[in-house]
Symmetry: C2
Subunit: 213 residues, 2 copies
């Protein structure tokens, strides 16, 4: 996503430290305390401008959601969406996805979302893909037994790669769709990117991968 | 495949009992003897008119191939292709795929091919799909450890179902292609159906599933 630099973003994020968690590693193992209840914990990696996670939070008020996004100028839009929607069940973390195992304890997370992740199509960039084995190891660590990775993408090569990588790692694939918007999957919450992209009529790919320990 | 009834087919198949095996159950565990050598054994289920298996036999003279096809009026075309191509490394079995575990011993087969299998799209026909769990159990039985199922189809729903079913059964998926004819897979041998179908420009799906014991 190309995005305008917002010099005021850092300050705004600081002002809302109730939503944008400043020291997420201190919350590891204690996210129930952060949210003040014992609800299923759903984490989006690469939350972007937050349309998906805020939409999910509204659709599923009994779940708690955490969006991880590295870019300050982007995550500030997600913060604004949280404020506008007045959702109490979303927290944001401005960080790299590699920190996942610092932010969450073993078996703390119920579900992970990877939406339209950067495909890094060049073979020499394979290790950067969010479905590369080193990332899957992090997801496996934080996910509960039978926890689920939910993946959506418009990139055919990234989807093929991800199915293979998830399968090779030992996740069980289910609810595969090769054309999500013409499938019978009813509960799709659109991301910003998906909304724009799907107008062109090109297929969106989706799958779920179940974690066994 | 809609096909004209050929009353002369039965006789022709009988005349070539060197190629069309009359009592395949007697060959179980002894296919090396049938072919007169110890070569990798590749089995196509639903071999149709034989373009694929004869093409494979020509491309891979060091492998032995067995095509299973139920329909007499169709398999007779496969026989004719074997005769025309003068391939010595193909045998045919006129039978239902359910007989697989009668025709082959445990761990006897190196690879299985499922090409453009009937998708049986109605949920109530799920058990007839060649990637339904009861069929996967048969494949697992006859396949060696690290044996491979090679699947091609033009049917999106059947492909989605097959990926899920194979994954749930414990096969590892690899070499997934969502558009085979525009992929970098170089060794594709076309089936009759694929040749006609691909001219329309619609995608062909392919995957391999590795059997672990």
């Amino acid at each position: 996503m190309r995005v305008r630099h917002k010099p005021w973003a850092k300050n705004k994020l600081k002002q809302h430290s109730d939503i944008v968690i400043v020291s997420p590693a201190y919350c590891s193992g204690e996210w129930y305390d952060v949210f003040g209840r014992e609800a299923p914990l759903h984490v989006e990696i690469g939350a972007g401008k937050g349309q998906f996670i805020v939409g999910m939070a509204q659709k599923y008020p009994d779940y708690d959601f955490i969006g991880i996004e590295l870019n300050e100028s982007i995550i500030v839009s997600a913060l604004q969406k949280c404020l506008d929607a007045k959702v109490g069940n979303v927290r944001l973390i401005r960080a790299d996805a590699r920190g996942l195992t610092d932010f969450f304890a073993e078996d703390e997370v119920d579900a992970i979302y990877l939406n339209f992740s950067d495909p890094w199509p060049k073979k020499r960039h394979e290790k950067r893909r969010l479905t590369y084995s080193s990332f899957l190891a992090r997801y496996e660590y934080v996910l509960k037994n039978n926890g689920v990775i939910n993946l959506k993408t418009d990139n055919q090569g990234f989807f093929e790669y991800s199915l293979e990588s998830l399968s090779a790692y030992g996740f069980t694939l289910r609810n595969i769709s090769l054309d999500l918007h013409r499938s019978d999957f009813k509960d799709n919450v659109l991301t910003e990117y998906e909304e724009k992209f799907s107008e062109k009529g090109q297929p969106i790919y989706r799958c779920e991968a179940v974690c066994h320990e």
